[in-house]
Symmetry: C2
Subunit: 453 residues, 2 copies
């Protein structure tokens, strides 16, 4: 049972994290007789499934972001707070932020996951991952800068490394990145360069398992690999990455060790739980799995703390078939909604049966007119899968404005095969050329100390 400290004050729900888990919980609680506070480090919800399209110059960050305040503007019982939760005190029922303490009756932790380099954190410098808007802009910068540098490079070996793109990890993100970069190199950019032939670019997709898209049916994995190869991607399965350093990827295929010189290496291989997993473990004694995810009860609460829930990528929920549910948006969404419903039931003195994930299938985009969709009872590939992918992604974009603009952008890109959002931005070495000429202009203000004149 969850009960309020003060019988008159409404039940306080604090949600940490505005991703799919946290946001859908908040939306579901909009009409409930509770007070909700949603805390996030960012002022927007990010539609991560389309982040690869920002990284490859199709969409802008704002297209796939919705300000949390405006999404929840009409939920009068809901406050949004920009900030970071550093700690919790489950006995005092408080979350601890930098500048304030926040009491809760029920806590939902939905802080998600971040990249994992399996302990090789030094790889990150050479092989950035894709989780935040900044990550996507950094990937975009590297991809388009590689073509620019190749255009200027006269040494054939260096030029080859500049035109080699290695994507580590053959899950949906890796597949989608590889397909999009292939379309860039072999179609979009072809007529834009004078010294290089962008279709000489090599795009390698590396996967450790024996097939790409392991969550899909094997026949779809095969279809996807064949479609990628048709686009020009080299798909290498059963390939382990043993080192990434100084723009060199070291591979192991069986017993053979190989080195590939590539200026652009993208990481789509592994994730681990965000730091709140460790905090929860320390404060509540909850168990975590090897990826740092919190092992939750069958109602998504933490053992011994029925007023603390963990949802989304941070949770390890294994009550369904012994295997933890995958870290994908639909799982987070359904978990968030379940917990929101459970809180309301409990306040009415009722309860709910255990959480049960309804798997509606998996989908992955490969390229123009090509995708794979595995709905369990039905498998789609090619054009219809592609259309299905578009409709589903448009449908789930949180705000109507984004749906409209993304739809138009896609129609336009489809017709023209252009990529309008291919800006190289970011203040740090956004050009190879140093900005020595005009440092105050490009290095912006923040690093400079005031100088008295």
């Amino acid at each position: 049972m969850v009960d309020s400290h003060d019988n008159n004050a409404p039940h306080q729900v604090v949600i940490v994290g505005g991703g799919f888990g946290g946001l859908y919980a908040a939306k579901m609680l909009a009409k409930a007789n509770v007070n909700v506070t949603l805390i996030d480090k960012r002022n927007f919800h990010l539609f991560q499934p389309l982040l690869y399209q920002v990284a490859t110059g199709t969409l802008s960050p704002a297209h796939i972001s919705s300000p949390l305040r405006s999404v929840l503007s009409k939920s009068e019982n809901t406050k949004v707070l920009l900030g970071e939760v550093n700690d919790i005190d489950p006995e005092a029922k408080q979350v601890i932020m930098d500048d304030q303490l926040l009491p809760y009756d029920t806590l939902i932790v939905a802080t998600g996951a971040k990249h994992s380099y399996f302990g090789k954190d030094n790889w990150e410098e050479f092989a950035p991952g894709l989780k935040t808007v900044e990550d996507a802009i950094e990937m975009r910068r590297r991809i388009f800068l590689a073509f620019e540098a190749a255009e200027k490079e006269t040494d054939p070996e260096k030029r080859r490394a500049l035109l080699t793109f290695v994507i580590v990890g053959g899950g949906p993100t890796g597949v989608e990145l590889a397909g999009a970069i292939a379309e860039l190199a072999y179609q979009t950019l072809k007529k834009d360069f004078r010294n290089i032939d962008t279709s000489e670019a090599q795009i390698l997709l590396l996967e450790g398992m024996d097939r790409i898209l392991p969550p899909f049916a094997p026949e779809l994995s095969q279809t996807a690999a064949a479609s990628l190869e048709k686009l020009g991607v080299i798909v290498q399965t059963k390939t382990l990455v043993t080192n990434i350093e100084n723009d060199i990827v070291t591979l192991k295929e069986g017993d053979e060790v190989k080195q590939i010189a590539a200026k652009t290496i993208l990481w789509a291989a592994g994730v681990k739980a965000s730091a709140m997993g460790k905090v929860l473990a320390e404060r509540t004694g909850a168990e975590c799995d090897r990826a740092g995810r919190v092992i939750v009860e069958s109602d998504l609460s933490i053992k011994g703390y029925n007023n603390i829930f963990v949802v989304g990528d941070l949770a390890n929920f294994s009550h369904q078939n012994g295997k933890p549910l995958p870290g994908v948006a639909p799982v987070a969404k359904q978990e968030g909604e379940y917990v929101a419903t459970l809180i309301q039931k409990r306040l009415q003195g009722q309860t709910l049966p255990q959480f049960n994930y309804i798997d509606r299938g998996s989908l992955a985009m490969i390229g123009q007119n090509s995708a794979v969709v595995d709905l369990g009872f039905m498998k789609l590939k090619g054009f219809f899968a592609w259309l299905f992918w578009l409709v589903i992604h448009i449908y789930f974009l949180i705000e109507f404005e984004n749906k409209l603009v993304v739809m138009i952008q896609w129609v336009w890109n489809y017709i023209t095969r252009s990529r309008g959002a291919r800006l190289i931005t970011g203040q740090k070495d956004s050009l190879e050329a140093k900005t020595a000429q005009n440092p105050s202009h490009y290095q912006s203000s923040e690093k400079r100390l005031p100088v008295n004149v």
Copy 2:
């Protein structure tokens, strides 16, 4: 006379800078019997007149940027080069880049202007200006972060400073920024916050002269000031800023000195020529004015060097009425086109009369349904001026895709009064809250040194 070194090789035109001056020169030369190389530090042309809409969360950077390569993709005689010109050698007819020398027969320098703090460069830290995409994202970050911090602030004085926005400079950019921030505070954000009333925000527009929009007819300046005041902006003319430090603006109105505590101070006051002005002066003996602009001949060439032209914000062209032409897009565009035409004429052994700027008027947006347009023979204000402003800006957006997407975005914003692109991004303290929890994720890869494991 300009002649090629080698009679067989086509005439080499090198253009430095892909703003309005450089890009329109390149476009005009697309069909000419010359080889063109366009060099820019960025890989895109930026439509600066709409940059304030990025800074205030209406448009995304990609909406107002066009990749230079794709704009010039069909100009088969044109190469685009990403890089920076550090120096020129007018005797050897070469531009000097970091990694290469580039010979030219004719050189067009169009590197534009940057902010000027009138020698008080330490003000930049507290009062960023608006010239680049990064500048706009930084302004956007500051504006939206101020509201977020105010929502959390309990001290009324600090909250007041957080909700005070000072815009220094009453030209078109200052007016447009002030109007857009007023709409944000008094309309868009009103229902999104729970602790603060965003309509308590104070927006001050400071101008040193006796009226805002000095290039416009006095009656339009009055209209603009009245419209801004109706929107809620406090317009202060005849006001000099004497210091900006630690979020305090010190003003002088006549003899009265005043201090205003404001967390968000935006600089729209002055520009100076980019560093190429100095380089040209040193290498060619060209004279520069006080703002660093190169004083050009009546055909936009440099005295003594009839094969070096300066166009756009970097040029001081005073042959028309003794006053230098203003640093606005139409001047740059017409200058670029003039020089491109002159080059072609000269190759045919002909010449052109001196450059003559055709002033088609000035326009400034104030807010929803409100703008001022001064066409000389006709003055518009209110709704029709606003409609005219929209049409003109859509018309001049370089690429069709951008026109379409911007139009839809504007229609949507008009109907809903929402601002979808209000992301707080950028890696450096993008939150007040430190990212201690998850430093590797947010501080990205670039600052970290590889650590061997």
